[in-house]
Symmetry: C2
Subunit: 251 residues, 2 copies
């Protein structure tokens, strides 16, 4: 389908077409399209921009990641499809490892995603040879590498399912989630819950990281003053404000 | 994927798998999965049940449909995939025509969907031979039949896009939408905006129709007293209440 560049929803429609192609390439599972749609709904409810609480969470994310001993960025099918370059540049900026971990796991799909990430510039992508398991999970999602997810102290999980987010928190890790739904199980569980579009979130984290890198005081103060519960409360207030405002506009 | 029957999200997961299969059968366009996801998000925000304003809208829908001269139920890929039987029995109950109308239109896909609907019990499904156009639309979505959509006075459009909903209202029709997002362009435009899951909505309309059939007074009073703006306002209030309540529960 050809989408005219001046279409008001050009970006969003292009992204849908991209995800559709990525299903054909075996990178995105068809049900990944449904989860993308759920995110889109919440993005509408935040006017498709990075709202103030999202920026606060992204600043905190940068601080936690820069302060980590072994930071890891977890990548699933949708993340790889939508943001391969953003993941790679962020990983370089904060010196983090990248590990692919997917729900609908086959060796073939793992290889396809890892190769795709590498073609797009990611280096040393982990996940091909899992040698550890996340305790408490029965599915293949438990499979991970010791040097990556298993031994990480701070982990960034874009578009994560609730079970795994909980299991990672139970392991004592600092879990940073990117999930547009502020009341999802993942957002409820994470240490830092970013409710923002994944591309914008990754870019914002990178910008904050550039700004605070080497400034230990800024990093530590950001970590110490960050209040995730308040951030989520503010996000919910914004959604309700926009919902009611949208309705008023018509009247 | 096998989903255990006691999984708390069994229904929702089964439906995702069904839509995935329906993509393979050519009934659902892959981007239809994304739109299903958007609906799911709003369904979560209404506790996955038919909230009070949805029931009011469904009662009004039954009244408008029973009072119509030429009621038509419009069917797209997602609707056919998820509710072929519900559409058929509702059409019989209210004596409405069924017309298939899709955004990503090919003759092959039209035939696949119509055949599927007929196999599932729908009779005389229109749409194969369009002989009219909805004014103001440039895409293939404008194609329709004169005896069906074009000459309808009351039209039920589950999961409709905003452009077409507006074009149908501009034709002077009573448009009843089923769209979980209460602030979508479709919901803003429709005469009766039902924000409910499509299966529940179709079943509820049918039950109301059975209840009010033959009771002219009940039908006319329902039509005369229905306030769509108030219904949508109530829906938004409920979403905000649930959002805030979900958050409070954790504290």
């Amino acid at each position: 389908m050809t989408i005219p560049k001046d279409h008001p929803r050009y970006e969003s429609l292009m992204r849908r077409e991209k995800l559709k192609d990525m299903v054909e390439r075996g990178i995105v599972d068809p049900t990944g399209l449904i989860s993308h749609g759920r995110g889109e709904a919440f993005d509408y409810l935040m006017d498709e921009k990075s709202v103030e609480p999202a920026l606060k969470a992204e600043e905190a994310a940068a601080a936690f990641l820069l302060n980590a001993k072994n930071p890891v960025i977890c990548v699933n099918g949708n993340t790889a499809a939508l943001c391969p370059k953003e993941i790679s540049v962020l990983a370089q900026e904060i010196n983090a490892k990248i590990e692919v971990n997917i729900f609908h796991r086959t060796e073939e799909r793992m290889n396809t995603i890892i190769r795709f990430m590498e073609d797009e510039g990611a280096e040393n992508v982990l996940g091909r040879k899992p040698d550890a398991r996340i305790p408490g999970l029965s599915s293949d999602r438990a499979l991970c590498t010791k040097e990556g997810i298993f031994d990480s102290d701070v982990i960034l999980v874009p578009i994560e399912d609730g079970d795994r987010a909980e299991a990672l928190v139970d392991m004592g890790k600092t879990v940073i989630s990117i999930d547009l739904n502020p009341i999802s199980r993942t957002s409820k569980t994470a240490t830092v819950s970013i409710s923002d579009d994944i591309s914008r979130a990754l870019e914002n984290i990178r910008k904050f990281a550039i700004k605070m890198k080497g400034n230990e005081e800024y990093i530590i103060e950001t970590i110490n003053t960050y209040d995730n519960s308040q951030t989520r409360q503010e996000t919910i207030n914004i959604i309700c404000f926009i919902l009611k405002n949208e309705f008023q506009k018509e009247a």
